[in-house]
């Protein structure tokens, strides 16, 4: 709450704010004049039998409204000058924050909603708060000035209960904010639990756990209802504050009426006083109470969430230590261990791997076994829990994102094509590429037909209209053009047909430099010079022939079945005998042929 308010106040731009305050002076005219004009219209006009005088005073009321309108018009423009830059600032924060988080590997499903929905809520609430606070101040000042000139006694009668109600309301704000936060939290917990349970509908039904799953959701449902009731109690308290501040002055004024009248106050004076309360102070207080507890709390809570999600983070990679001199681009992994959580079983365990310059390595293994994790570690996107990764003898941990990008290029499974021209997309990693280079790369990867079909290099690309395979082809050309000597294809050809996949992989093999392929099809392994077989607890490296003899998993992935070792059907079956994992890794520490 405090942080959001601080942020909001700090974002008030000085010049437009001063201009806004300046234009508030004419805007205060109607509030000041209204009761006074009505009092005079009644006393010296209509009651005195002089209708023209009465109408004249009413014309003054209209004129005051006109002056107020000019002020309002200019005021709203200045409001835009304050609110629009504030919104721009939020949009920048949200976009940068989302991209930085994404790059750091944190999934952020709410970013787009934050950009559209939440930013707009905060923008509207911010503007609303400025308007309400400003008009409250205008009306109160106007009413005070008007009452002073009408009769100071009325002011003395009216103000104490009004201030009492206002003060009491301000005191409830802290509690209201706390209740509102509880309510939002209960809402989120409910959405979370309901999401988890409903995402598992199949599993819940398959286990016959409908009752316990319903109970699981029932807990946050009850919690949410309790939070809503607590909110209703705060709201009741606010209604009492409003009654004290808005209605009590009226009762006091009426009660004192006979006494005031005996002291010589006229009908118009009393009516004017009542109107200042009923048309001025009371609705002003009502608006403040309503909008502070509505958009004010919404502002604090939603802005708080945006700030939480976009708080400036540590730079993506801290280049604290110099990476050291680098010679060539031979890749060396030593003792790599990586787990998805601090207590999870590692998916990679003490992995040693050397990939010499110009080598062609395929990585195979069952799905979910850690192949993409290895690609992330090789590329310096993930940090291993233990062990080191070096390119050309220099540690990747200490390299800047730019330096890493100059050494290796990663083509992930989810190809990234953005709305722009074909040319922009192809030269994304090599903006200085010459047309001949781009043409050669396009032809080599086998994307020439696609590029021609899209309408050539200058044609705009609509990513949503491309198939997954077409997107992969474009991003393959892009990676091919990258100056980085090491190319890592992480199932980057999974949406291509086998022939297209073969052509693309061969293009990368002949590109010069190192090629590492996380294989989607086992055929990728057969094209590679060396193969790494990953199996969770163990890993084996070697060429096709050596792996066939030492790795039962490799044999199985190739579709071989160890017929001789299985028992007859219908009888207890013996598992295929395995070489202990440690032995596999040791037996195939083959150095690459360079």
């Amino acid at each position: 709450m405090r942080r959001a308010l601080r942020f909001g106040v700090a974002s008030l731009r000085r010049r437009p704010l001063l201009a806004l305050a300046g234009w508030s002076v004419p805007e205060a005219v109607p509030a000041t004049v209204s009761g006074l004009a009505v009092a005079h219209a009644v006393d010296s006009g209509f009651l005195a039998g002089r209708p023209l005088v009465g109408l004249g005073w009413l014309a003054v009321l209209l004129a005051a409204a006109g002056i107020g309108a000019v002020g309002a018009r200019q005021g709203y423009r200045r409001l835009g000058d304050i609110v629009e830059p504030f919104r721009d600032d939020l949009v920048r924060r949200v976009v940068r924050g989302a991209l930085r988080r994404g790059v750091a590997g944190q999934r952020d499903d709410g970013a787009v909603a934050r950009l559209t929905h939440q930013v707009e809520i905060v923008r509207d609430a911010y503007a609303g708060l400025i308007v309400v606070v400003r008009s409250f101040v205008i009306i109160v000042i106007g009413a005070v000035v008007g009452l002073l000139s009408l009769s100071p006694v009325i002011l003395l009668l009216v103000m104490p209960p009004f201030l009492l109600g206002l003060g009491a309301f301000v005191l409830t704000l802290g509690m209201a904010a706390a209740r509102q936060r509880d309510y939002v939290r209960a809402d989120e917990r409910l959405a979370e639990t309901a999401g988890a349970v409903l995402a598992g509908t199949r599993d819940v039904v398959a286990c016959g756990a409908e009752d316990s799953a319903t109970r699981l959701v029932a807990a946050p449902v009850a919690e949410q209802a309790a939070a809503e009731r607590a909110l209703a109690r705060v709201q009741a308290l606010r209604t009492v504050c409003y009654a004290v501040g808005g209605w009590l002055p009226l009762v006091v004024l009426l009660g004192a009426g006979p006494w005031l009248s005996r002291r010589g106050l006229t009908t118009g004076d009393i009516m004017g006083g009542l109107l200042y309360v009923l048309n001025g102070l009371q609705p002003a207080l009502g608006t403040v109470v309503h909008s502070m507890s509505g958009s004010g709390l919404r502002f604090a809570v939603v802005l708080g969430r945006i700030l939480d999600a976009t708080e400036p983070e540590l730079p993506v990679r801290a280049a604290a230590t110099a990476p050291g001199p680098q010679a060539g681009y031979g890749l060396m992994l030593r003792g790599i261990t990586f787990a998805y959580g601090p207590h999870a079983e590692p998916v990679l365990r003490t992995l040693d791997l050397d990939v010499a310059m110009g080598d062609h390595l395929a990585v195979v293994g069952p799905s979910g076994i850690g192949k993409s994790t290895l690609a992330g570690i090789v590329c310096g996107l993930l940090r291993p829990d233990r062990g080191s990764v070096a390119i050309g003898g220099a540690s990747t941990c200490a390299m800047s994102a730019e330096r890493l990008a100059a050494l290796r290029v990663l083509i992930p499974q989810e190809a990234y094509v953005f709305a722009g021209t074909v040319w922009d997309n192809l030269t994304y990693l090599c903006p200085s590429a010459a047309p001949e280079q781009v043409a050669a790369a396009t032809a080599a990867v086998g994307a020439d037909r696609l590029v021609a079909g899209l309408g050539g290099w200058l044609a705009p690309v609509a990513p949503a209209e491309l198939s997954a395979g077409q997107r992969q082809l474009l991003s393959l050309v892009r990676a091919y053009l990258s100056p980085a000597p090491i190319a890592v294809l992480d199932e980057a050809t999974c949406h291509l047909d086998p022939a297209a996949e073969r052509r693309a992989e061969e293009a990368f093999a002949n590109r010069g430099g190192t090629l590492i392929v996380i294989a989607h099809r086992i055929s990728s392994a057969l094209r590679a010079r060396r193969i790494l077989v990953l199996d969770g607890v163990s890993q084996a490296v070697g060429d096709h022939a050596s792996l066939l003899s030492v790795s039962p998993l490799y044999r199985e992935l190739l579709g071989y079945w160890d017929a001789g070792r299985s028992a007859q059907p219908g009888q207890p079956v013996q598992p295929v005998r395995l070489v202990p994992p440690a032995q596999i890794t040791q037996s195939v520490q083959i150095q690459p042929a360079s």
Binding site: R92, L250, E414
Partner: protein
């Protein structure tokens, strides 16, 4: 139901029925809300007239204590009614929402996975739409009582003096014309603003989809600049909305008081001619202010529309028939499974089950206690086949029998105690690991299942072991699969593994399948697999091809067929 489609008769009847049911759930709260709303409104309407009398009495030095007491009483009544009404309608909405949410979740689980809803969509139905639907009762009451103050005040104006009502309505017509013009202009400007905003959001979504490429290329700042390119345009359109608002508020600043002044002028003249008193004039100015509340009626109607929309979204789900269970118990038996000419059609693009055949006259028998591998290329119908055995969906034709009883005739408890299913991507549901795996079983049973599926070691390493909250236990795909298998381990007669160990490393997978084969004869196992070694260890292989059974037999015999071998490559 797509937003563009017009609801048919059935949908309209259903929506109205849902609305009524929800409104009726308000119970005794609704009359309370209605009575307090009406009493408060009556007090509000009477107050200006009484205040006017009080003013007249004060001026006439006629004591007027009675009028003063009456107005103080009316104010108190109005405040108390407001308090009671707003509190009771919030509580009514809160209770109804909670009731509706529990009902919806229970129903969704009864429908099962074949509802075909997206999880995000369901979550918004359970959270947002139920809260809207719960407004049904109070919004109906406030739609009725909300119209009373503005209409009543116009009537009372006319009672004081018909000219007053005439002046008021003329002024109001002016305001309405102006508001309409404003709404049109704002809509145009807002549409352009939202278009730019949509472009920004699309650019961000696009960049986030390629976040791995961007991370590797080190181009975060370039991407941020690219996404933010439309921001100046957004600023411009935003400034335009303020300019429109500035003009409108200037007009409102003139036209709004115009209504008030029109009534005061007409009243003033009436005062001159002695048709009304000064107190009447005061009352008239108040009624004019209250009558301006006619505009707020649209808000009440909007709330009613929201409640209707919420009721429709809730009703759409409640309308789907849940999976029915029979009431038969399972006779003693070894767990023999029989598919009798079972066919399943896809939902197809047009809906209504007219799609291509997912399974076509599948017919086979599995002897009780056997381990059966189900193999086939992707899309051959393996998962559909096992989901029939687990009764996660129903066949369009034919029958699935367990120990001679069609699974649809079994009691819920009997079916779920006998059959369990482990999935390739299990979703663990529960607060802690022990809840998610045990689903009510005691810790010893959970530990035994976890040991059998080689999940015990890594669960023991978690900070709170089996009591660790799921959210605090990030797991690899293989670990998740092993817990999913542990959850299904309780199956009494038929254990189904739908590619359930695909991410488990080979050594562990073999140990698990040894455990599976060691309890040979205790229960039937149906194992969907891509691995030839797993098929080889099974007693029998069901080979599916394009929804039909291509062959049933032992792996060794099928292996002679090159097409069978091709399934595994």
């Amino acid at each position: 139901m797509g937003p563009g489609r017009r609801p048919g008769v059935h949908e309209r009847q259903r929506d109205a029925a849902t609305f009524r049911t929800v409104a009726r759930h308000g119970g005794l709260w609704l009359p309370l809300i209605g009575v307090t709303a009406l009493a408060g409104t009556a007090a509000d309407l009477a107050l200006p007239a009484v205040l006017g009398r009080a003013v007249d009495a004060i001026v006439a030095h006629a004591g007027g204590a009675r009028w003063l007491q009456l107005s103080a009483g009316l104010i108190t009544l109005s405040v108390v009614c407001d308090l009671v009404m707003s509190y009771s309608s919030t509580v009514c909405v809160a209770d109804t929402t909670a009731w509706l949410r529990r009902r919806l979740v229970r129903h969704l689980l009864a429908i099962g996975p074949r509802g075909g809803f997206d999880t995000g969509d369901l979550v918004s139905r359970v959270t947002a739409n139920t809260a809207d639907a719960a407004l049904a009762g109070p919004s109906l009451v406030s739609a009725i009582t909300g119209a009373v103050p503005p209409i009543g005040s116009v009537v009372l104006l006319a009672l004081i003096d018909p000219w007053l009502a005439g002046a008021f309505l003329t002024g109001l017509a002016l305001v309405a014309l102006m508001l309409r013009a404003f709404a049109r202009r704002t809509a145009d400007v807002l549409t352009r603003y939202q278009q730019v905003q949509g472009r920004l959001a699309a650019l961000l979504a696009e960049s986030l989809s390629g976040v791995r490429t961007i991370a590797a290329a080190g181009t975060v700042n370039r991407e941020a600049a690219r996404v933010l390119e439309p921001l100046p345009a957004l600023h411009e359109h935003g400034a335009l909305t303020w300019r429109v608002l500035a003009r409108a508020s200037a007009q409102a600043g003139v036209v709004g008081p115009l209504v008030q002044v029109a009534v005061l002028a007409a009243g003033g003249l009436a005062l001159v001619y002695g048709r009304i008193t000064a107190g009447d004039l005061f009352a008239a100015s108040r009624y004019a202010a209250m009558g301006a509340g006619l505009g707020a009626l649209t808000g009440v109607l909007a709330e009613l529309a929201r409640a209707r929309a919420g009721a429709r979204r809730t009703g759409e789900v409640l309308d789907l028939a849940p999976v029915g269970y029979g009431d038969e118990a399972l006779p003693d038996g070894p767990g023999a499974l029989r598919f009798r000419s079972v066919s399943v059609r896809g939902s197809g693009s047009g809906g209504g089950g007219g799609g291509a055949a997912l399974l076509d006259s599948v017919d086979f028998t599995v002897p009780g206690g056997a381990a059966v591998a189900v193999v086939g290329r992707s899309g051959a119908g393996k998962s559909v086949l096992v989901s029939l055995a687990a009764r996660l969906r129903e066949p369009d034709a034919g029958e699935v029998l367990l120990d001679g009883v069609p699974v649809g005739r079994l009691r819920h408890s009997a079916l779920r105690a006998a059959v369990s299913c482990a999935f390739e991507r299990p979703v663990l549901v529960g607060e802690r690991i022990v809840d998610a795996v045990g689903l009510g079983q005691d810790l010893a049973a959970v530990q035994a299942a976890a040991r059998a599926t080689h999940a015990h070691d890594f669960v023991s390493r978690l900070p709170l072991g089996y009591d660790t909250p799921l959210a605090e236990a990030p797991m690899s795909g293989g670990e998740n699969q092993r817990l999913g298998l542990a959850r299904a381990w309780r199956a009494g007669r038929l254990l189904i593994l739908d590619d359930a160990t695909s991410s488990v490393d080979m050594v562990t997978e073999m140990q698990i399948s040894r455990t599976l084969t060691e309890d040979h004869g205790r229960r039937t196992r149906l194992i969907v697999t891509h691995r030839p070694a797993t098929a080889a260890r099974a007693d029998l292989v069901v080979w599916l091809e394009s929804g039909r059974v291509r062959a049933v037999g032992p792996h060794e015999r099928l292996w002679e067929d090159p097409q069978y071998r091709a399934v595994f490559q």
